[in-house]
């Protein structure tokens, strides 16, 4: 795989299934003198869906933000498709096109319409032809059932609609991996389902995803692996069926008890 020097265009990864897409080794993140993430080791293969669970403040959102370069790490390594994402001079602008992220507060650009929000990245960053991008955008909007709102502004949409648009916006960049940071936490209960259904759809199509969530039922349905983090350390990694029925560690058990009445 050759790269065109310091190409500003998205670089092509031709990965095969089961190839290692993301490798995290010994990652450490500090806020001042407090260590919030300690010795995180995780390997994610193409097509895998990894769900990260844990109590509030355990560092799961921080981990996600480290993967996207929104937080700097103080130790360890992150390798994405073989490329080292740690150290100085990382061209995040290139990698972020391949790593899609959806946030808890959707953060659509309020001064742009839905379609403008979606087209901004592909047109201005990836410099793709408008016709092609428009077609893709419309297809994706159709899939999440919002093609008829393409000219609406974010303020006219409900939370669930905005979140689905946020997912479409990220997908339109053709990422290799999608990161979801508690994307249903800010939504009214009725809207949670419509968003989770979209993510489930993506999983069926083989999108590699790392999901941070509190929705236990969803986690069990969508995950290939559950990663349980507590106080900045990975406590347990297991398949969902095993994790929910038979957690290996005390802390995991305590955590799951919170959701049982």
């Amino acid at each position: 795989m050759k790269l065109n020097g310091r190409a500003k265009e998205a670089f092509i990864i031709s990965t095969t299934k089961d190839q290692v897409l993301l490798e995290i080794q010994g990652l450490r993140k500090d806020y001042g003198t407090t260590t919030v993430l300690n010795d995180i080791n995780l390997t994610i293969h193409k097509g895998e869906v990894v769900v990260i669970l844990g109590p509030s403040g355990c560092g799961k959102s921080t981990l996600l933000r480290c993967l996207n370069g929104l937080e700097a790490i103080q130790g360890g390594e992150i390798r994405f498709a073989g490329k080292n994402l740690t150290g100085k001079n990382v061209h995040w602008q290139e990698y972020r096109q391949k790593i899609g992220m959806v946030f808890q507060n959707y953060d659509l650009f309020p001064h742009m319409s839905v379609i403008e929000n979606i087209l901004l990245g592909p047109l201005q960053v990836q410099k793709r032809p408008k016709k092609e991008v428009l077609e893709q955008a419309q297809q994706l909007l159709e899939r999440v059932g919002l093609l008829n709102r393409k000219d609406a502004y974010p303020r006219e949409l409900s939370g669930g609609q905005k979140q689905r648009i946020a997912i479409v916006r990220a997908l339109c960049m053709n990422p290799e991996i999608m990161l979801f940071d508690e994307v249903t936490a800010a939504l009214d209960p009725e809207m949670v389902r419509e968003v989770l259904d979209v993510i489930l759809g993506l999983a069926k199509q083989g999108m590699t995803m790392v999901i941070v969530t509190h929705e236990m039922g969803f986690a069990q349905a969508v995950a290939d692996r559950i990663v349980f983090i507590d106080a900045g350390n990975i406590c347990e990694i297991a398949k969902p069926a095993e994790f929910f029925a038979n957690p290996q560690t005390e802390r995991a058990q305590q955590f799951l008890n919170i959701f049982q009445f």
Binding site: R96, M101, N105, D107, F109, H111, L120, V125, R155, R169
Partner: protein, 221 residues
């Protein structure tokens, strides 16, 4: 207490001329402050070494001292250093000096109003710093900055009432002269107040209208 209309009619051209002068000085002052304010806020945003603390010092200095003293210092004080400015230049420099810091604060407020999560959202789709500024920050900052800029314009327009102190034949000066010479105090004061109302009310209404329009295009998340 009747009004001496004859006097009013005779004095009208004087007031008109003075009003135009006030407007002219205010306009130059406003334009200069906008430029200064923009430059200052750019320096502060990029935290330019060496310049940023100077700019911050300038802002604190100009916001915590009265325009009158700034004018006196410029007009009477600087001449001693060999810098001689005409009255009008002095007035404009004074207004620009004071206004620049207010405009800088307005710009800063606008930029800071764009939340961190908006910026992260832009970064996550691969926007460069320049693209962030152009597509995400500036459009959103604008609607927040505009009301402040407008308020500053009105403020500067009102502050021009002070420039009469350095012998500029503005509205205040004309009024003082007329009171001193003809004792038609009430008429002179009435015209003074009306002159300022004519200058300021339209601007104020225009700005309120503009604000409302920008807020309509405004967008909550």
């Amino acid at each position: 207490m009747g009004i001496n209309w004859e006097f009013v009619i005779t004095a009208l051209p004087l007031y008109e001329k003075a009003a135009w002068l006030t407007l002219k000085l205010a306009l130059w002052g406003i334009l200069s402050s906008l430029v200064i304010g923009l430059l200052c806020s750019i320096v502060l945003y990029y935290k330019t070494k060496g310049l940023a603390p100077l700019v911050r010092g300038y802002i604190e200095l100009s916001r915590n001292t009265p325009l009158l003293i700034q004018l006196f210092f410029l007009y009477y004080g600087l001449t001693k250093l060999g810098i001689v400015l005409s009255e009008q230049t002095c007035a404009i420099v004074g207004l620009a000096f004071l206004g620049g810091s207010y405009m800088a604060e307005a710009f800063r407020g606008g930029v800071e109003s764009v939340s961190k999560s908006q910026i992260e959202s832009g970064l996550s789709i691969g926007l460069s710093n320049l693209q962030l500024i152009r597509y995400v920050i500036l459009p959103q900052a604008f609607s927040v900055t505009l009301p402040s800029l407008g308020a500053n314009c009105i403020f500067l327009l009102k502050e021009t009432s002070i420039v009469g102190a350095i012998a500029i034949p503005d509205l205040m000066h004309v009024t003082q002269d007329l009171i001193g010479m003809y004792y038609q105090t009430f008429e002179a004061l009435l015209m003074l107040v009306i002159a300022y109302l004519i200058l300021l009310l339209p601007v104020s209404f225009f700005l309120t209208w503009l604000e409302r329009k920008v807020r309509y295009a405004e967008f909550g998340n």
